[in-house]
């Protein structure tokens, strides 16, 4: 049960944020996160992908890797960007980072070129995921 993962490559377009959101919500449910835990993950993933879409110049796709162990679920999202990142005065990006930090146990954004990445972690036992069947 360790070493399983889900990989997605999504077009870097706004209408695909909901695809990431709903896919990760379904995965969270499968992993035994409760309703609140799954909702937290769904929200954080949507904010992460929205954040990756903010740079105007960048790659045409966002890669998403979700991997889990008995202890936690890790979600990594990445988009190639030309300028490396986010404007410092980007109010919505700051809100997105606050939300991710609140709803996940760990959330880190890295804007080092040539990629903008978001790494999220949620402990499985912190969301009532103990006894999950996957």
């Amino acid at each position: 049960m360790n070493g399983d993962e889900v990989r997605l490559s999504l077009p870097a377009r706004p209408e695909f944020v909901s695809v990431a959101r709903l896919t990760l919500s379904a995965l969270a449910g499968r992993l035994g996160f409760g309703v609140d835990g799954a909702e937290d993950i769904k929200l954080a993933v949507a904010e992460a992908m929205t954040l990756l879409l903010r740079p105007k110049a960048g790659g045409d796709s966002v890669s998403l890797l979700a991997a889990w162990t008995d202890e936690h679920l890790d979600i990594d999202l990445e988009r190639r960007v030309d300028d490396g990142g986010l404007a410092e005065d980007d109010e919505e990006a700051a809100i997105a980072q606050l939300v991710m930090a609140e709803f996940m146990d760990e959330a880190a954004v890295s804007g080092a070129p040539p990629a903008l990445t978001v790494r999220l972690r949620k402990q499985r036992d912190s969301a009532g995921a103990a006894g999950a069947h996957v």
């Binding site: 377009r13 209408e15 695909f16 944020v17 909901s18 904010e47 929205t50 919505e92 809100i95 939300v99």
Partner: protein
């Protein structure tokens, strides 16, 4: 290949006392926030600066939505008005709290209370 379709966000406009009340129905995210921006801009461009935003029909709100209403509130305040929220949904209230926007916006439980907050009839 057909274009991707996201269920559009609909924004109902009504009045609460003398004030326009905008009620977004559906999800506000990066793909749909333009509809909310347009509805708010139409009111502000038309000289309506005291506005109610009723979140009762909202199933999802993200950072782009929060950015949109924050910008609209700023514009309303600059013109001598305000944008007051009506919200009872715990998840959206939590979002407003996390981001500190609960200290920025007047948040009411009913549209009548929002009307009173804008200087209309008492709730």
């Amino acid at each position: 290949m057909p274009t991707d379709s996201t269920p559009p966000l609909r924004v109902e406009i009504s009045t609460v006392g003398a004030f326009p009340c905008l009620r977004p129905l559906g999800e506000v995210d990066i793909a749909s926030v333009a509809a909310l921006q347009e509805a708010l801009s139409a009111q502000l461009d038309g000289g309506q600066t005291r506005l109610v935003m009723d979140f009762g029909g909202l199933s999802y709100l993200d950072s782009t939505g929060l950015g949109c209403i924050t910008a609209a509130r700023r514009r309303a305040r600059d013109a001598g008005g305000d944008l007051v929220l009506v919200c009872t949904q715990s998840r959206i209230l939590r979002l407003l709290s996390i981001t500190g926007l609960n200290q920025v916006f007047t948040i009411c439980k009913t549209t009548a209370a929002a009307e009173a907050a804008l200087g209309g009839a008492k709730a």
